[in-house]
């Protein structure tokens, strides 16, 4: 099972990220992303209704919650892939409301997707090169004059090779991305996101469908991002992974932030247990088993 995997190095946890009590919406000492009153409804269903949340800079923050809690929708709203009904949110002090997704990405907020979006009929190298921003040759008119962009393109290629080496994909660089395995595509997507030197990397379920052997290297790569000074926000269901690498955990349920805190204390929070297990989890309702229930029970046992 993938949840047995642990990063090879002992992660260095960031502490003292918040000001005051670790309650939902608490202030952070140095927030990079602040969302205020972000609400998104689909017809009668309120998918996301976040009153206030701050993401700490330079740390790894996990966004967890049961299925349908609105995590991915919240991701989409923050990155401009979906528009909220109301709300403000800012990144590094710049308001992101009504900013299209591509401009959000140019500001240094890069995301990946739950369903991996490797560009299948492009080679792995072309996938990587596409990740670089500010390319002169991406202008239609300059594209016709190779001498204007050739040098920059070579630099991008060198950088891509270095990144591919780190992610152990360099042997695959001339293959179509479609020929990679699911886990390799996750790695490629992450490596591609790094081509633009982002300040905040948002990973939507980086571990979904990845085999245990790769899980470990993925965890190491996520920890590497932090060592290199990037901020990471990720959605994950795998509680062991969250506990291993996250410095801060935000729990969503039914579109709202119901708890925040460091991974150890947040797992004990009554609101979190209620969100995952239901408020009547003490009573036997028969077979209501889900992966989370087991994972969380396991975790609670671990802690005790």
């Amino acid at each position: 099972m993938s949840s047995d995997a642990a990063p090879t190095k002992k992660p260095v946890k960031s502490v003292d990220l918040h000001v005051g009590d670790a309650v939902p919406g608490c202030k952070k000492t140095d927030p990079i992303l602040i969302a205020d009153g972000v609400k998104r409804t689909f017809g009668g269903l309120t998918a996301v209704d976040v009153a206030h949340v701050e993401i700490p800079r330079g740390a790894i923050t996990a966004l967890i919650g049961p299925n349908g809690a609105g995590k991915t929708t919240f991701f989409n709203l923050l990155t401009g892939f979906d528009k909220p009904d109301t709300g403000n949110w800012s990144f590094d002090g710049t308001s992101l409301a009504h900013v299209p997704a591509f401009k959000v990405a140019r500001m240094g907020l890069i995301r990946t997707f739950q369903l991996t979006k490797a560009l299948g009929l492009l080679t792995v190298m072309d996938n990587m090169k596409l990740g670089a921003t500010g390319q002169r040759g991406e202008n239609l008119f300059r594209a016709m004059l190779p001498f204007l962009w050739r040098k920059q393109d070579d630099e991008i290629e060198a950088k891509a090779l270095e990144l591919l080496g780190r992610f152990k994909l360099d042997a695959k660089k001339d293959d179509y991305a479609a020929s990679l395995s699911g886990g390799q595509r996750k790695l490629l997507e992450m490596a591609r996101a790094l081509m633009s030197d982002p300040t905040l990397v948002m990973l939507d379920e980086p571990m979904a469908g990845v085999n245990p052997a790769l899980t470990q290297s993925l965890l190491d790569h996520i920890l590497d991002l932090k060592t290199q000074g990037m901020t990471v926000l990720f959605v994950e269901h795998d509680m062991h992974m969250v506990r291993h690498i996250a410095d801060w955990v935000i729990v969503m349920a039914e579109g709202k932030v119901v708890a925040e805190g460091d991974p150890h204390s947040v797992m004990q929070d009554q609101a979190v247990i209620d969100a995952y297990l239901g408020q009547h989890h003490d009573q036997d309702l028969g077979a209501t088993d889900t992966g989370h229930v087991e994972a969380l029970k396991e975790l609670i046992d671990d802690e005790q």
Binding site: F102, T112, E138, Y176, A178
Partner: protein
């Protein structure tokens, strides 16, 4: 007995004819749209009609010189692309398909309607716009010249030369663009536009540029198309678009030379079929009338394309490896 020499020499004429070049160029425009960007343009006939009418009307009604008439045609198709693209490029690919097929028909009907008879010539179309183009002809000889089956008049040689030079320039241009970072973004959009958006590219602007570029190629194709014939609105029906698509799929969608090879094969084979069938009917080999034989060639072309798509779906020049990953 069947005159094989005539059948083959007619087919050989198709090999170089400006019509073949026009279809190649229009299909190259579709390759930019569909093969590289993933845009479904079913209105290439509309872009071609704008080239043809833009050129002919500027020359006849306004007396513009050749270069200005060409610019008018190109300008009209850029505006057409913007009108098509602004509302639809934010939506899924199929909306563009619906809008383009309708818009091309609207254009054809506008050119056919009697209301604008003075300018468009209505159903009779336009002719007599070729003087300016012929005045530029550097070939001066009377009668015909050439070798083998390729014996043409000076004006025909001039049309052939201009047509294929434009095709060659367009091929080099598209080839260079598709190897550039700009082309890389287009191919990324074809695969998954959300992924490209998440990497900081303005997908909408790239799709618009692609729509305009492919449309302008279609416009030039429309201008080449009217070199050996008159401008007649009936030529710009949806069948023109679908022949162009057939050529594209025949040659290979995401290739530069595929559309050119596809167009040559399409027209040579079509000419060969029709020549063969017509003479076979005359010789009494086939139990059908001459009118029926005219339709039979399109049936044979249809069968040939179906076989092609079944047994070589990547087209003649396409990359077999690409097909193994298509869902």
């Amino acid at each position: 007995m069947i005159d094989w020499g005539a059948i083959f020499s007619n087919a050989a004429v198709e090999l170089v004819s400006p019509t073949t070049a026009a279809y190649a160029l229009a299909a190259l425009g579709l390759a930019v749209h569909f093969g590289y960007t993933g845009l479904l343009n079913f209105g290439q006939a509309g872009f071609m009609a704008l080239g043809a009418y833009g050129y002919a009307i500027s020359t006849l009604t306004f007396g513009f010189p050749v270069w200005a008439s060409v610019l008018v045609g190109v300008g009209a198709s850029v505006i057409f692309a913007l009108i098509l693209g602004i509302p639809t490029l934010r939506l899924r690919a199929d909306y563009l398909a619906i809008v383009t097929i309708a818009a091309a028909e609207i254009l054809r009907l506008l050119f056919t309607t009697n209301t604008f008879r003075d300018v468009t010539g209505s159903a009779n179309g336009l002719s007599e716009y070729k003087d300016g183009f012929r005045a530029l002809n550097p070939f001066h000889f009377s009668g015909t010249a050439g070798f083998g089956p390729w014996v043409f008049s000076a004006n025909d040689w001039w049309s052939i030369l201009v047509a294929w030079v434009i095709v060659a320039i367009a091929c080099v241009l598209v080839w260079m663009l598709m190897r550039s970072p700009w082309g890389r973004v287009l191919k990324g959009i074809r695969e998954d536009e959300d992924a490209v958006r998440s990497l900081g590219k303005n997908v909408y602007a790239y799709k618009m540029q692609s729509l305009i570029l492919g449309g302008v190629l279609g416009t030039f194709a429309g201008m080449i198309f009217i070199l050996p014939r008159a401008v007649v609105p009936a030529n710009y029906a949806t069948s023109l678009t679908f022949f162009t698509w057939a050529i594209l799929l025949l040659g290979g969608a995401a290739t530069v030379l595929g559309p050119v090879l596809g167009s040559i094969v399409f027209w040579v084979v079509l000419s060969f079929f029709s020549g063969f069938v017509a003479r076979a009917v005359e010789a009494g080999w086939l139990p059908i009338s001459e009118v029926q034989s005219g339709q039979l060639r399109f049936i044979l072309v249809g069968v040939a394309i179906m076989l092609m798509v079944v047994f070589r779906p990547q087209g003649m020049l396409g990359n077999k490896k690409e097909m193994s990953f298509v869902k």
